[in-house]
Symmetry: C2
Subunit: 257 residues, 2 copies
Amino acid sequence: MKPPAVREDETPRQAGLALWRQIAETLRLEIGGSDYPPGARLPTEGTLTARFGVNRHTVRRALEELSRSGLIRVEQGRGTFVAEDVLDYTVGPRTRFTEWIRRHDKEPSGRVLQLREIAADAAVASGLGIRPGTRVVMLERLGLADDTPVSLTRHYFPASRLRGILNALDGTPRITEALKAVGVDDYVRLVTRVSARAPTPSEAALLRMARNRPVLITESTNAGTNGPWAGVVVEFGVGCYPTPRVQIVFEPGEGPP
Amino acid sequence: MKPPAVREDETPRQAGLALWRQIAETLRLEIGGSDYPPGARLPTEGTLTARFGVNRHTVRRALEELSRSGLIRVEQGRGTFVAEDVLDYTVGPRTRFTEWIRRHDKEPSGRVLQLREIAADAAVASGLGIRPGTRVVMLERLGLADDTPVSLTRHYFPASRLRGILNALDGTPRITEALKAVGVDDYVRLVTRVSARAPTPSEAALLRMARNRPVLITESTNAGTNGPWAGVVVEFGVGCYPTPRVQIVFEPGEGPP
DNA sequence: ATGCATTTGTTCGTATGTATG
DNA sequence: GCATACATACGAACAAATGCA
C-alpha cells in the first residue's frame, strides 16, 4: 500500500467543484494579488503538483484554463509566466504606430529590418491598385513599446506615384514624415482586414513570442486626403502582431450601415 | 553509383530560379485553372515528390509558400486542400449574422448548442457593466453558411434588465427577434476586440477545422438605441471564427479620429 | 478500445552554389 | 584566392494527427 501523497497546500477541497477549477481559482487569486506581477514566472508544474497534492494532469488542466482566459502564457521548455498587459491596437482612420504606443504610456521605437525597391506580387498589386510587377518600395520594420516588440510590419509604396520615397524613408524611419517629404501631407486608413496564423520561426524570434501562439495579421490600405493625393492609395501595409500581447480593437463610431 | 531518380514531370528546370519556387508556380497555375476546384484535395507530398523528382523538403517549401499566401490549407494527418472562398466578416455598427452570410450569397442557419441562465463571471460582468455573480442568460450558437460552420458565438444578456429574454430566445434562434420581443427594437455594436488563439478540440470539431490553425476571437458589446434602451448595454458576445475561412474586415467610414 | 496504415510535422545531418567582403 | 554567411537541396528518422478495420 502506497501512502497518500503529501499535500503542502491545506486548502480544503470543496465537493461538487472539479479539483482543477479550484486550483485555477486559487492561482487566479494569487495572480490577481501581488504574489505574481505581470511577466513573473510561476512555479513549475512539478512544484504545483506537490503543493496541491494532485496529479500533474490536474495542474495542467488548471493552467490550461488560465492560459485560455489569457491570464498566463505557457512556453514549452521555459515555463509559465503571468501575462503582461494587453496592448489594445485601436483601428481607426488615423491609426499611427507612435500614437498607439504613447496612448499606453510607453515609449515607441522602431528598427528598420529591410528597405528596398522590389516588384509587386499579386497581393501587393491588388492592395495598391496597380499592375503586378510594377516597382514598389518595401519597408519592413519591427515596432517596439518600451523595448518589447509588439509589431512586425511590411509597408509597400508605389514607387512611380511617390518619387523619392525610397530616399525619404532612408532618412527617417517614420512613415508619416517620409510621406510628408514626398508631398503627402495627410492620409487615412481605408480598410483593414484581420486574420491569424502561426508565426514563422523568424517572426516568433523577432517578436520574442512563443511559437505555439498565433499572430494576428492585418492588411490595410492608406489613401491621401489633400489636393492631388485625395483618394489615391499611397500605402499598403501588412502587419503581424503577437497574441495575446496585442489585441485589435474596432470602434465603428458613426460609420454608415 | 546511384542512377538519377525518375522524374515524371518533364517540365524543364529553369536555371537561376529556386526549384521550390518553380514548383509553387506550377501548382499555383494548376489550382488557378480547373484542375483543382476549391475544397479539392491535392496529391500527397509523397506523390508530388515523385512527380517533380525532388526531395520532400523541396515540395514542402513550395506548399508552405502556397499555404502562406492563402491558396491552400494543410491539415496534418489528412492532406492538403485548395482553400475555399474567404468569408469577409465586415464589422460595423449593425453587424448581424444573417446579413453577413446573405451578402456572400449563402444561406444562413444556426444551431443552438446551449441556452440557460448562469451567474456572470468577471469577464462577462465587465463587458455588460454589471457586478460579477449577477444572473445572465447565455446563448451558445453555431452559425452556418450553406451548412458550413463559420462561427461559434456565446451571447450574454443581463437577465434583470431584459425580463423574459430567456423565453424569447427559446422561441427563436434569432437574436434580433428575441431582443425585439422584450422591447429592444434596435441596437448597435459599440466596440469589437479581436484576438486569436488555438482552438479547443471541441471548437475545432464544431467548426470542422484543422486543429493546427488558429481561431479569431471577438468580444463585442451591443447597446440599445431607442427610448429607455438608448445607450444601455443589452448584449455581450464572444465569437470564435475559423481561420483562414473567415477574415474580419473593418471599414472605419466617417468615424472621429 | 486497439492496432495499423497513411499523411503531415519536426529535427537531425550533409552537401552545394552564390553572394559578400 | 579565401573565409564567411546564406539559401537551396537532399537523406533519414521519428513524432503527431487522422481514419479505418
